[in-house]
């Protein structure tokens, strides 16, 4: 355990002094290799592990799903989805809040990250809510909270990374994320109902239901709405792998924006590719260097030791999972989802499996709890995005998000207490 403290502690210190995460992980790994090795510093081992990692077709899903989300955020696709969601549920009290959650859920089935959701849909949603007289804090809160659905519903970058590291079927993880994602969406909508009923948040009177508007906006959104069916259906039927689904989704987004809607210029397409390149490179490089970090962890025997210790704990698995969830919630406040998965999966998954936890269920709990970090201080990326979009102060956005943490935490608790929320669908589909 002392090695673990040095290993993780050293890494955290290097990150805190301002080193880029990839450098911090690399230096920690080299130091550990030097200290625990039998003399010399075989620097080529890191490159060996990096190439073994990057020479992996599965990981290509990451840039491809990010690309699909970036292209959709450039054209009118997100607006079409939001307009349809508004027509569908906007007639209720707090209708745009519900539309916000519905649109985020739809977008989550096309993108793979919370930040892509908040950055793309966020400005459209908040502008619409502001114009119709919704409380700005409430608008920021529901927009930020609904973005957490992004990494849970398939496709999910976080689940791709977890599945690859934990050697779990990514298709199974994608299916396992569907019910918890929908449950979270429902509970978030429930919170909107509660806030509206209590009269604590300014919400305009609902407009009457207009079936024609649903049909009109539905027709405009029908092609973007086909994308989730293409992704999930294609993977489930075995028509293509998750990586291929990312490529098909990206091409579909290009065809929609460039040829059908004609609102995606060549320059915008190039910028989408460049944004994708920057974000993907940062993640893939960390993944590659982390594989070296994980290899050293295993070589030192830290996961094996931890697995032995956890297996020896006399505690019901539900409490053990709760303890893991609390740990991930804390970690998520300080580190991004993918970084945390990369650093902790090799350490905790062997321990969780030794204690009898299901790796698919555990993965979904891990990804959801870590994802909450995007809306919690001090480093929640989505909080900063909301500050930029709404011009509210950081503290105001944090307070606005607080009520929505309740339905998110309730989702996590239900998921922990009832594992079949995650495992039922993959079991049913034969994974």
């Amino acid at each position: 355990m002392l090695e673990l403290a040095i290993f993780v502690g050293g890494l955290l210190v290097l990150m805190i002094i301002g080193l880029p995460v990839v450098v911090a992980i690399g230096i920690t790994s080299f130091v550990a290799l030097g200290v625990t090795g039998s003399g010399g510093l075989p620097v080529e081992l890191m490159s060996l592990r990096m190439v073994q990692t990057l020479n992996n077709f599965t990981l290509l899903a990451i840039p491809l799903f990010i690309l699909a989300a970036n292209i959709m955020n450039t054209g009118s696709t997100t607006t079409r989805i939001f307009d349809f969601a508004t027509a569908l549920v906007g007639f209720t009290r707090g209708g745009l809040g519900h539309a916000n959650v519905v649109a985020s859920s739809i977008f989550a089935t096309m993108s793979g990250t919370a930040v892509a959701d908040a950055a793309g849909l966020g400005s459209i949603e908040i502008k619409a809510m502001k114009e119709r007289g919704y409380d700005l804090g409430y608008s920021a809160g529901i927009t930020a909270a609904s973005s957490v659905i992004g990494p849970i519903l398939p496709p999910s970058i976080a689940l791709v990374v977890y599945g690859w590291l934990a050697n779990v079927s990514i298709g199974a993880l994608f299916m396992a994320g569907i019910l918890p994602g929908l449950l979270m969406a429902l509970l978030l909508m429930g919170m909107t109902v509660a806030l509206g009923a209590g009269g604590r948040v300014a919400m305009p009177a609902p407009a009457p239901f207009d079936g024609r508007e649903v049909l009109r906006t539905g027709r405009r959104a029908v092609l973007p709405l086909m994308m989730p069916a293409i992704i999930v259906g294609g993977i489930w039927t075995g028509f293509f792998t998750p990586t291929e689904a990312g490529a098909v989704a990206s091409l579909y987004a290009i065809v929609l924006g460039g040829l059908i809607y004609r609102d995606l210029s060549l320059k915008a397409l190039y910028l989408s590719f460049r944004r994708t390149l920057m974000f993907s490179v940062a993640i893939l490089l960390i993944i590659a260097v982390s594989s070296f970090y994980g290899w050293i962890l295993v070589r030192i025997g830290i996961p094996q030791t931890l697995a032995g210790e956890v297996a020896g704990i006399d505690m019901p698995t539900v409490f053990l999972l709760l303890a893991f969830a609390l740990f991930f919630l804390l970690i998520g406040c300080f580190m991004s989802v993918v970084e945390s998965i990369l650093i902790f999966t090799p350490i905790v998954v062997p321990a969780a499996m030794a204690a009898g936890l299901d790796p698919i269920h555990f993965g979904i709990v891990m990804v959801i709890t870590l994802s909450v970090g995007v809306i919690t201080p001090p480093f929640g990326n989505v909080l900063f995005l909301m500050v930029g979009i709404t011009r509210l102060r950081y503290g105001q956005v944090v307070i606005a998000v607080l009520p929505f943490l309740l339905p998110i935490l309730a989702t996590i608790l239900i998921l922990i207490a009832v594992p079949s929320v995650a495992t039922w669908l993959p079991d049913l589909l034969g994974y």
């Binding site: 995460v21 620097v43 990057l54 910028l271 993907s280």
Partner: protein, 180 residues
């Protein structure tokens, strides 16, 4: 490692500024082309397999090779743009002198790490010269060259940052790459 956005006064820094602009332009373009290549290859493989009943197993190998080079070139551009992820806990609260010291200190550490990593990639490229990939039979050295390009380039960039401190690289109003 985010760079400032003002034209520098000193001649050396102006030269560095132009070089950095050229590096980002070239690396962006190469990275985007490689990424587009990955996309097209994978779509072509799906269409060929599912619609034409024609297997193209070599596409996976080529796609991952292109992705490795995209990571190599893209990481250089990302370093100049300051797009590599970091946990910024306190640097915004530091006085200018301490901030400059922290900047150079992290640049020195980064330079050392990148140099070791580049060296390792070069050693592996030589050791793997006779190992061939399964479908295409190309040497594994080519995979390591992609990693080497990125790390060697970042070694030079971070060495420059350690010696000169922050260097402007882009005119005010220029577009940076932001994460989605």
């Amino acid at each position: 490692m985010r760079q400032e956005s003002a034209i520098p006064l000193s001649a050396v820094d102006r030269l560095a500024c132009r070089l950095l602009r050229a590096v980002t332009l070239v690396c962006d373009l190469l990275g985007v082309l490689l990424l587009a290549g990955v996309l097209l290859l994978i779509v072509a493989a799906v269409v060929a397999r599912d619609l034409l009943n024609l297997g193209m197993p070599w596409t996976e190998e080529v796609a991952t090779l292109l992705a490795i080079y995209a990571v190599g070139f893209g990481s250089l551009s990302a370093w100049v743009r300051g797009e590599h992820l970091l946990v910024d806990l306190f640097s915004h609260r530091l006085p200018p002198l301490a901030l400059a010291l922290q900047y150079r200190f992290t640049a020195i550490l980064s330079c050392g790490f990148f140099a070791l990593a580049a060296w390792g990639a070069w050693v592996m490229s030589e050791m793997s010269a006779n190992n061939r990939t399964v479908s295409l039979g190309i040497s594994f050295s080519y995979l390591y060259y992609g990693i080497f390009v990125g790390f060697a380039g970042m070694t030079l960039l971070s060495a420059w940052q350690a010696l000169r401190g922050r260097v402007a690289w882009q005119a005010v109003g220029g577009s940076g790459g932001e994460a989605p």
